[in-house]
Amino acid sequence: MTYIAKPKFHHPALPKNDLGYTHRDYEGTISTLCAGCGHDSITASIIEACFELSIEPHRVAKISGIGCSSKTPTYFLGNSHGFNSVHGRMPSVLTGANLANRDLIYLGVSGDGDSASIGFGQFAHVMRRGVNMTYIVENNGVYGLTKGQFSATADRGSKSKRGVINTDNSIDLAAMALQLGATFVARSFSGDKKQLVPIIKAAIEHQGAAFLDVISPCVAFNNHAGSTKSFDYVREHNEAVNRLDVISARAPIAVDYPEGTVQIVEQHDGSKLALRKLGADYEIHDRYAAMNFLQKHASEGQIVTGVLYIADEPQDLHTSLKTVQMPLNALGEKELCPGSAALDRINAGLR
């Protein structure tokens, strides 16, 4: 398997965004994942979201762990720097990168094996530190790359392709993210682009730790009857709490929701989310209610999707650390080195 460059045909009629970029400018190389893999749909949604937000692709750093899902950063934003790190450790690499340059947009891509098993610890800590990032878990309930073992998000009682029943309890990463202090938590489905694209946009706009659990069926190992992460199962059991539109501070778009209640949620940076409530009494700012809601529906076999929680005051690690506004990687010896006179004073104090 080798790298396959994607031919860049720029059809003159392709729609352009505010920067004059077309979708092509947000693509990467051709995917080598199985045809029909949910991860490819998520890739397409990330491309769409970045296009719609008119993000400069090179101002994004995309960082992943190891797994089929973690391969996907190669398939979007070809002009961004990417880092396919080691299994389960995307969060620490991303944290370091973010500390070095607070001015870039950070997309962390991971799998359920990557995040809920080997990387569970790092997932937890990046959430509780409030690193400004969009953390996407492409959740298929199995290890895709190593050919179909159950992951820790596989539901108890669900069946593997070989007919084995999972006897362990599952980890709900969205519930965990809520508990750990993520300031934006959402769940979606790779097969529901309409819901997923705006959620990704909102997560990117969010100035804090945004967590996104995306059910992403593995057609090779987990798309059969008895799986609770198959296309059919998710379609049948999806309980969406809301649909949303993002009115970016940079690129306002008109929203027009004739039916249902619409709630405008203002983000820290001025961007606005227009949430069309489906669950009429769903309260977006209540972390504990969200946890309750998730667990209650999970026990009824329902997969709740939508934006589950947004904090009014998102936390950012840089704020907690009181770091300078200028990216740390831009500081040179002038700003960093105290110089020989200071050293002489230090020496004098050590005698």
Partner: protein, 613 residues
């Protein structure tokens, strides 16, 4: 007294046996500083089992006019303040040595040895008479014995008073009571004991402009001066104080006075996996980043070290070594992480190691390591150990050249990319094996690349072909070769007369080796010396070995790890390298080295005589 009484001016070892948590540390350190302020070099060492409150701890001060900074071994004066270790402490005193103990409660004669000088001072009684508060009784007891010692050893009380003044600057209310306690002890001793004793401290001028600092503090300062902005670490003895010192220095030196904003970020990570991951992420993104850890942490960092090596991401790792394997001896010193650091991770890897000998070099190499990491785009291990890291050491003042500029290595800028310069992340443009990198976010359409631990071609494109893989790993070897010219070279000191024998050593062994050479020469032997300061080895290591019949390799581990590395990397016949190994967790001493090498050389002489006859 059988065996006589030890008499010595400015050359003895005093050891304080205390109970952890009794507040003795500052009094003991003050003693060491007072001797130093009198112009007499000292070499102090903390000896502390891995424990918390309540268990034994020792502090040893070698008073050494000759300036021998290695551990000497043996104790001439024992201040035995811990009943729990009393018997063992007494047993450790050299014949003719001295014991100071709290005589408030009379002890049976059987408790003492008759070949030592026993000095009883009713410390508790003096304290209880003066103070009612239990904590005061405890704390001032330490200052009182300091006062007693000042009289016994004929020290200048003024010097200690000044030190007390400095110690409690800003908490001035504490100065008077401490000075009072000092004189309580001193006056009691002058009235009731024969002062001074055979051991004395006499003012001298042998300290010069040297400073007194721990290796970990100096290394942390090196990181500040070297421009480190990101520190991610996880607590572990004996490296924690390095991160603590970095935190302290940064708070003082790197906070913008106007805005209160920090020009650094320090994260106490959830574990070592995360700390090295953060360092790699930050370095990939163009910041200078480091972690500080010890053996168990290094073990955990292996996978990431391989990634950084293969994907060519800079990283600085301070490894403050302790006794291994496993938890081993967490509070004892060793040099036993060489091989795991040199070859960290699976697959064929080789890493750069630096071996500072003292705090001065810990500072210098600490700062240098960031230039090397950026220049070579690879992890750099600064190999400290507990003996350097956690003990105060006299060393040359730290120096910085204000014209020095950071070497950020081969980083392609926006302008270069814009000008159309060919960028291939893993192209060997100059034939030195070192490619160009770009920082994320540099240019809208040029210079972005994908970093991964799997095989790729010269343009960083994923491939599983054997050819590009071999091309890549061979280039990494070229890069390792290039490193030889920029890492600190070994230092050679030749014996005055020509000799067939040499000795190689490194790191904290240095002061003991300096002294050992004198002892060895006194026995009529000659040795050429080479102090290794980095890995990869410079070609002079080969020629040094070739120039001698054989070479002793002195190190503080069981398996002769440096020796293995030399044999492996320089293709040297192992028979030509004689291991001299010390690994019980105590710092290596001149006595040990001199005896081991001396015995070997003596045997050779005998053998040669036998062969001749």
């Amino acid at each position: 007294m059988p065996g006589g009484t030890i008499s010595s001016v400015n050359d003895f070892v005093i050891r304080f046996a205390n109970v952890n948590g009794s507040g003795s540390a500052s009094a003991n350190e003050m003693f060491a500083r007072a001797v130093m302020r009198m112009g007499v070099p000292v070499s102090p060492r903390n000896i502390f089992p891995s424990n918390i409150q309540g268990l034994p701890t020792w502090y040893e001060v070698r008073v050494t006019e000759a300036g021998h900074l290695g551990a000497r071994g043996g104790v001439d004066f024992m201040v035995a303040m811990n009943p729990q270790t009393f018997d063992k402490d007494i047993a450790g005193i050299e014949p003719g040595g001295y014991l100071l103990y709290d005589s408030t409660k009379p002890l049976p004669q059987s408790k003492f040895r008759d070949d030592i000088n026993v000095i009883g001072v009713p410390l508790t009684a003096i304290c209880n008479k003066e103070y009612t508060d239990p904590r005061q009784r405890q704390l001032f007891k330490n200052i009182i014995y300091l006062g007693v010692l000042s009289a016994l050893l004929d020290m200048d009380a003024k010097v200690i008073e000044t030190l007390i003044g400095e110690q409690y600057k800003g908490k001035d209310k504490l100065i008077g009571p401490n000075v009072h306690a000092l004189h309580l002890g001193r006056d009691w001793a002058l009235e009731n004991l024969k002062c001074p004793i055979g051991l004395r401290v006499r003012a001298s001028d042998k300290v010069g402009d040297r400073i007194f600092i721990e290796g970990n503090s100096a290394a942390a300062l090196g990181a500040v001066y070297g421009g480190a902005t990101v520190c991610a670490w996880y607590p572990i003895t004996p490296s924690s104080s390095l991160a603590d010192a970095f935190t302290r220095y940064c708070a003082k030196l790197r906070v913008d006075k106007d805005t209160g904003e920090a020009k650094y970020a320090i994260i106490q990570a959830e574990d070592e996996l995360a700390s090295i991951g953060m360092v790699i992420g930050a370095s990939w993104n163009g910041a200078r980043a480091f972690t500080a850890t010890s053996g168990p942490g290094i073990s955990l960092m292996q996978e990431f070290c391989g990634l950084a090596y293969f994907a060519e991401v800079p990283a600085v790792i301070f490894d403050v070594q302790r006794g291994g394997p496993s938890t081993g001896m967490p509070t004892r010193t060793q040099q036993s992480d060489l091989l795991i650091c040199a070859y960290a991770s699976h697959g064929d890897t080789k890493h750069i190691l630096l071996f500072p000998e003292d705090p001065h070099e810990a500072f210098e190499f600490g700062a240098l390591s960031f230039d090397l990491a950026d220049r070579l785009q690879t992890p750099i291990f600064v190999m400290l150990d507990l003996d350097i890291g956690m003990n105060h050491r006299l060393c040359a003042p730290l120096t910085w050249d204000d014209t020095r500029q950071y070497d950020r290595g081969k980083v392609m800028t926006y302008e270069e990319l814009e000008a159309g310069t060919d960028f291939g992340r893993y192209l060997d443009v100059h034939g030195d094996g070192i490619p160009y990198r770009t920082y994320p976010g540099t240019h809208p359409t040029r210079g972005s690349f994908f970093t991964r631990g799997s095989t790729r071609d010269r343009y960083a494109r994923y491939t599983e072909e054997g050819g590009p893989y071999v091309d890549n790993v061979m280039r990494l070897l070229r890069k390792f070769e290039s490193a030889k010219d920029i890492v600190p070279r070994p230092l050679i000191a030749n014996a005055e007369q020509q000799t067939k024998y040499g000795v190689i050593y490194y790191g904290s062994t240095s002061p003991a080796m300096d002294e050992a050479i004198e002892l060895i020469e006194a026995k009529g032997h000659r040795l050429d010396r080479m102090r290794i300061r980095s890995f990869p080895f410079h070609s002079s290591v080969n020629s040094f070995v070739a120039d001698h019949d054989f070479v002793y390799v002195v190190e503080q581990n069981r398996d002769g790890q440096l020796r293995s590395l030399i044999v492996n990397e320089c293709g040297i016949d192992p028979v030509r390298l004689v291991p001299i190994l010390h690994f019980d967790g105590t710092p290596i001493t001149a006595r040990f080295i001199a005896k081991a090498i001396g015995d070997h050389l003596d045997q050779l002489k005998v053998k040669r005589k036998q062969a001749a006859s």
